[in-house]
């Protein structure tokens, strides 16, 4: 298994399959994992979060604890970064404590790459700037596979602020690796520069895409103000690119609605659309724990999950 997970591209399709299959064994008794496994007893996982994210941090924490690892939460506020200890100093401090894995969330793209160069522990990227969020992509892939069984030929529409989204980047590379077709939907101001190089289709017309999509994946939309604003108002964004229950009727019967959370209800998705039966948004959250368990398990434990016997 890989030493670091900095980008979803650190895995190949077989590696992704292995993570997803291992996650499934942890969910053998149902989506909520109640059992605790002894695999990582004696190992220490540090959650190094430079951005507040209760959701992702908690998911990693639960995953590590279900595998009997010790978990240390190391939260650093934005202001401390500006004047206090540098990332390198912090890395060396954590390294000196002797830990096995560092889960890092950081507002700077590439911070996990830098960290990996300074420590001997495994580094897991829990979201860096506009770069990647590979464990989000893994849990999204897991959720999609739960419903469709495979990826080849699936059409996935990712809607919204692709340019600034680490979730979009990891999902696009991951979905492509697994054989899905990706279409990016939004105004050109929200598409990344030189998107031609991404190997995806792009369009500004969500209603043309929905009838063909197997998955519609909505990204969180935030308003930048001033002359650099990417859309004039959230109201206009919502009207032209948001998903409401009426627009969702354009979807095929078996199509899924996904969102990485937290949702801006009424902006990229309305409450009624988020609560449609085809919405798997809460499944994504539950699956996150299983997928992160699988990843920690494979990166730090190295044994086959089927040999494991729960301790509780």
């Amino acid at each position: 298994m890989i030493r670091h997970l900095l980008s979803i591209k650190d895995l190949d399709p077989e590696g992704i399959e292995r993570v997803l299959a291992t996650a499934a064994t942890f969910q053998a008794d149902g989506p909520r994992i109640m059992r605790k496994y002894p695999t990582l007893r004696g190992k220490t996982v540090v959650n190094l979060f430079y951005e507040a994210s209760t959701r992702t941090r908690t998911s990693f924490e639960l995953a590590a604890k279900r595998l009997s690892a010790d978990v240390v939460n190391f939260s650093v506020s934005g202001s401390a970064v500006e004047k206090g200890e540098s990332l390198k100093d912090t890395a060396q401090t954590i390294e000196a404590m002797g830990v096995d894995a560092i889960v890092i969330r950081h507002s700077s793209s590439g911070a996990p790459n830098r960290l990996a160069g300074w420590v001997s522990a495994s580094v897991i990227n829990a979201g860096d700037g506009m770069h990647e969020h590979p464990t989000q992509a893994l849990l999204d892939l897991y959720t999609i596979r739960q419903h469709f069984g495979s990826f080849s030929g699936l059409r996935v529409a990712i809607v919204g602020d692709i340019a600034h989204s680490r979730v979009a980047r990891s999902n696009v590379w991951g979905l492509q690796m697994m054989g899905a077709d990706v279409t990016l939907v939004g105004p050109p101001t929200l598409l990344p520069p030189r998107v031609e190089g991404w190997g995806v289709e792009t369009t500004a017309d969500i209603e043309a895409v929905l009838p063909k999509a197997d998955v519609v994946y909505l990204l969180r939309m935030q308003l930048e103000r001033g002359t650099g604003a990417t859309v004039p108002t959230l109201r206009e964004y919502s009207r032209l690119w948001g998903l409401d229950a009426a627009r969702a009727t354009l979807l095929k019967d078996e199509a899924l609605i996904m969102h990485p959370g937290p949702m801006n209800r009424g902006v990229e998705i309305t409450a009624d659309a988020a609560e449609l039966p085809r919405s798997v948004i809460t499944d994504q959250v539950a699956n996150g724990v299983a997928v992160r368990m699988a990843l920690l398990y494979l990166m730090l434990g190295g044994r086959d999950a089927r040999e494991e016997v729960p301790v509780e």
Partner: protein, 437 residues
């Protein structure tokens, strides 16, 4: 009195006189006294077979960091690096702390250069007070001070206001001074940390498009034409910039331009590991841009090579890419990069290379005594280098106080053997010299 020196049998490449031939060069005191076939007459003889002798290099653009950031570089360490790179004249950029926007600061920088005695230091004055881009600095005070500043730049900061830029160009004409504007439109570049392109798109780093440079340059060229003033374009980084300068020169606009070793050699894909050693302003661009900048330098559209030598201590560079400062070391590696990347592949010859490293920058700033000609009666500001010897760049061996070279581990061809400043060795036999002989 010091003994005369004869450099014996060097290939003398001197664009100012058009000379490119094997010859002996005799130095007495501070001056060149003879050139041609010379008998050794009460002189120390230095064998230069296989070596090139040229006018000492001239750098229009270096950050020596003093006053203010002596932890990164000082005038003494920066000019030591310059001497090792074959330079005899270095223009020190204005973004010091305090900013070089007054006569007192520019005179201090000159004095520090004299005290070090390793290269002539010519300060660049700020265009605007505190580099703030709001109010014209006292260009006249700096021009008429003992530092005699005739070159102004808010380098690192672009003069955003077209009105201020027009006034600066107009006012500079009173002193026949040059205005060098870092071309980067603020709103287009805002938040960017690398070239906007395929690489930044994948890395998720906010980009600075080539057009941020080009829209300001197009404006500045129009203003240079309007005012009849002299504009210098620092660190050309895009193919579009090369085209704009080419067209402006054809129209008779008084413009000169420089390219840095890194914009001649390196591309934006190096940023892929997020190492800020590759972070620089303007950013490393694409292969097409590098090819255009090389071609522009070879054909003279870009007049000269300037280093934009920008030292930063390790703690500033060893951090997250977006939080690290811009800049790279270059003084000690510039010759090697230009020889390896441009001369060796046949993009330019020795006369053009020496012109770009010495004669053209000296002319752009009117630096008498630098850039040749190598002729009796002129100051002995010279470099002698081995064009063929390959060497590996080892950051810890550089003279600069900082180690942020993007060329670490690279094999370069072209190594300085002697550097001479007004008849005194600053580098001798490849080793630091203190000016004695």
């Amino acid at each position: 009195m010091s003994k005369a020196v004869v450099f014996r049998g060097a290939r003398v490449v001197d664009p100012a006189s058009g000379r490119d031939e094997t010859a002996d060069v005799r130095i007495e005191g501070e001056q060149i006294t003879d050139i041609g076939k010379i008998s050794t007459n009460h002189a120390e003889e230095i064998d230069c077979a296989g070596l090139i002798l040229a006018p000492g290099f001239v750098d229009l653009h270096a950050h020596l960091r003093e006053p203010g950031r002596e932890d990164a570089e000082t005038v003494a360490t920066g000019t030591r690096a310059a001497a090792r790179g074959g330079y005899t004249a270095v223009c020190a950029m204005a973004n010091t702390d305090p900013v070089a926007d007054s006569a007192a600061i520019v005179e201090q920088v000159v004095a520090l250069g004299r005290a070090a005695g390793l290269a002539d230091v010519y300060p660049v004055g700020a265009i605007s007070v505190g580099l703030q881009g709001e109010q014209l600095a006292e260009l006249g005070e700096m021009a008429t001070s003992s530092a005699r500043v005739n070159f102004f730049s808010d380098d690192g900061k672009c003069v955003q206001s077209a009105g201020l830029m027009r006034r600066a160009l107009e006012y500079a004409r009173a002193f026949d001074a040059v205005i060098a504007n870092h071309a980067e439109e603020g709103a287009l570049a805002s938040g960017g940390h690398m070239n906007e392109g395929e690489v930044s798109s994948i890395l998720g780093i906010a980009g600075i498009p080539a057009e941020a440079e080009e829209v300001i340059l197009a404006r500045d060229l129009a203003l240079a034409k309007l005012t009849g003033a002299r504009l210098h374009v620092p660190h050309v980084s895009t193919a579009g910039t090369v085209e704009l300068i080419r067209a402006a020169k054809a129209r008779g606009v008084r413009v000169t331009a420089e390219a840095t070793p890194h914009h001649l050699a390196l591309t934006d894909d190096l940023v892929s590991g997020y190492d800020p050693v590759y972070k620089v302003a303007p950013p490393l661009r694409t292969r097409d841009d590098v090819d255009a900048v090389r071609k522009g330098l070879a054909d003279g559209t870009i007049d000269c090579v300037a280093t934009d030598h920008a030292p930063h201590p390790p703690e500033d560079k060893e951090r997250e890419f977006d939080l690290a400062p811009c800049g790279m070391l270059n003084l000690e590696t510039a010759l090697g990069v230009v020889v390896t990347e441009l001369l060796d592949p046949g993009l330019l010859g020795w006369l053009r290379l020496i012109e770009a490293m010495s004669t053209a920058p000296a002319r752009a700033r009117g630096l008498d005594g630098h850039g040749g000609p190598i002729a009796p009666g002129t100051p002995a500001n010279l470099v002698v280098f081995d064009p063929a010897t390959a060497w590996i760049v080892e950051p810890e061996k550089l003279a600069s106080k900082s180690k942020n070279t993007p060329f670490a581990g690279r094999t370069l061809k072209g190594k300085v053997v002697h550097t001479m400043l007004r008849g005194r060795f600053t580098v001798r036999e490849g080793s630091d010299a203190d000016g004695q002989r």
